[in-house]
């Protein structure tokens, strides 16, 4: 056993310090040390996207990041997507379009979609499918998810 270490990072806009083991992945640290359970584990080896978070502006699989690596970084998780008073337009579109069934993959899809729309306000269907190809959904056949992201982009463009 090694002693836990203190890690400081900006998580969902707040400077945060947490204790973690050097063995922890970012996913484990977020869920078990910080208490942000919205980031999900589906495969724990980077093949399903359920644990997607935005790390310093890029989406990553948090299961493929070691917790000590994020010292000094900025992280956005699903808990940081909505504001205090409103859902993000992507979240709203997922609800309107029935783009979730069981919901376990939903946080990863929404976080990934946000990163896409942050850099491309008018993606095509192909852009969306390529961007989300690392996120597996077994319930929906992707149709309504892709529609929701396209609708959210249109709504955000106004």
């Amino acid at each position: 056993m090694t002693d836990p270490i203190v890690i400081g990072a900006t998580i969902n806009g707040e400077a945060t310090q947490f204790l973690a083991s050097e063995r922890d992945s970012l996913l484990e640290a977020l869920r078990d040390r910080v208490g942000l359970i919205g980031t999900k584990e589906g495969c724990n080896n980077g093949n399903c996207g359920a644990c997607t978070v935005i790390l310093d502006g890029r989406i990553v699989c948090s299961c493929l990041v070691m917790a000590p690596e994020v010292a000094g970084s900025t992280i956005t998780t699903i808990e940081g997507i909505a504001t205090a008073d409103a859902l993000h337009p992507i979240q709203q579109a997922f609800l309107q379009d029935a783009a979730l069934q069981c919901g376990i993959c939903t946080p990863g899809f929404i976080v990934a979609a946000k990163a896409l729309l942050d850099q491309n306000s008018a993606p095509t269907e192909d852009d969306v499918r390529l961007w989300l190809a690392g996120n597996l959904c077994r319930c929906t056949g992707y149709d309504k998810i892709v529609q929701a992201v396209l609708h959210a982009a249109a709504n955000m463009r106004g």
């Binding site: 063995r23 699989c61 493929l64 000590p68 690596e69 690392g134």
Partner: protein, 289 residues
């Protein structure tokens, strides 16, 4: 995840010292997309991660028309694929860097890590080979370089000596009448390991192929430079006949295994198909199409 420590050296010397002290249990951590999985699944006995992402040399991408391109070993694929000079002078690298994993993987995975992991199916290595890249290595004995085609020694093994690590990749400046391209085949649209892949570079002179390089992957213990394919191309104008000869040479050099990702028959066939496709794409790029 097995029990391990994490270190983040701030100089190349410090990194070498950590790796040397750590012995065989110490592993470089760049993007982590392979090595973290290996540690978690206990496929390798790892007890120390040496994170090289604080080393500027391992993270930078620089281009100079005379010197060529230098890519830090830990520079993530998305940065490589977006880099202006890479996009205009080394589109073949963009092919590879934007095909490795999905978008989230490309946010972390590096071409250096792809090379060091030494998977026979690595999507970065054939491109690096045809672009004549050299590996810049630091170690207890100082610095050295090695042609990329000599870097991998077998599935998952490489030419790095104890205490050494890959710092950067250096690619010569491209010749104006040249073009290079990478092709791979996977069963799905994304999120797969190549069943086979191939890269080609062609340099033309007065309508004839003056110089060529063809490399194939996932068809042998390491990615292969196919000398016979270049031989079949050089000296003649590029034609269906020379392309077919080069593809046949690739097929002949392929000595794949049968596994869950592909059959022998499929892989030998794909080595030829992808060689042909990469040659045509490389020629288009050389012509500026």
């Amino acid at each position: 995840m097995q029990a391990l420590r994490y270190a983040r050296p701030s100089s190349v010397e410090e990194a070498v010292a950590l790796l040397e002290q750590g012995g065989s249990g110490a592993r470089v951590l760049a993007g982590g997309t392979d090595v973290i999985v290996q540690a978690r699944e206990r496929r390798r006995d790892i007890n120390l991660f040496v994170d090289i992402k604080a080393l500027p040399e391992a993270m930078s991408i620089t281009y100079d028309p005379d010197q060529g391109l230098t890519i830090g070993a830990a520079a993530p694929c998305y940065q490589i694929a977006r880099h202006e000079a890479v996009r205009s002078h080394y589109p073949c690298l963009v092919d590879s860097a934007s095909l490795i994993g999905g978008i989230a993987i490309q946010g972390r995975a590096s071409l250096g890590g792809n090379l060091c992991n030494a998977s026979p199916a690595a999507d970065g290595i054939p491109s690096l080979i045809v672009l004549a890249a050299e590996a810049g290595i630091a170690g207890p004995g100082g610095r050295r370089t090695l042609p990329v085609e000599d870097f991998c020694t077998g599935p998952g093994t490489n030419a790095l000596a104890p205490g050494e690590f890959l710092v950067s990749l250096r690619l010569p400046p491209p010749h104006p009448d040249s073009g290079a391209a990478f092709q791979r085949f996977i069963p799905r649209g994304e999120m797969d390991i190549a069943v086979a892949n191939a890269a080609s570079q062609l340099r033309f002179d007065d309508g004839r192929v003056r110089w060529a390089r063809v490399a194939i992957g996932a068809v042998a213990p390491t990615p292969l430079l196919v000398a016979d394919a270049a031989q079949a191309l050089v000296g003649d104008p590029l034609s269906d006949v020379t392309i077919a000869a080069a593809a046949a040479a690739a097929r002949a050099d392929a000595r794949p295994i049968e596994d869950m990702r592909g059959s022998i028959k499929q892989r030998k066939h794909l080595a030829a198909v992808l060689t042909e496709r990469s040659l045509r794409a490389a020629a288009d790029r050389a012509r500026g199409v």
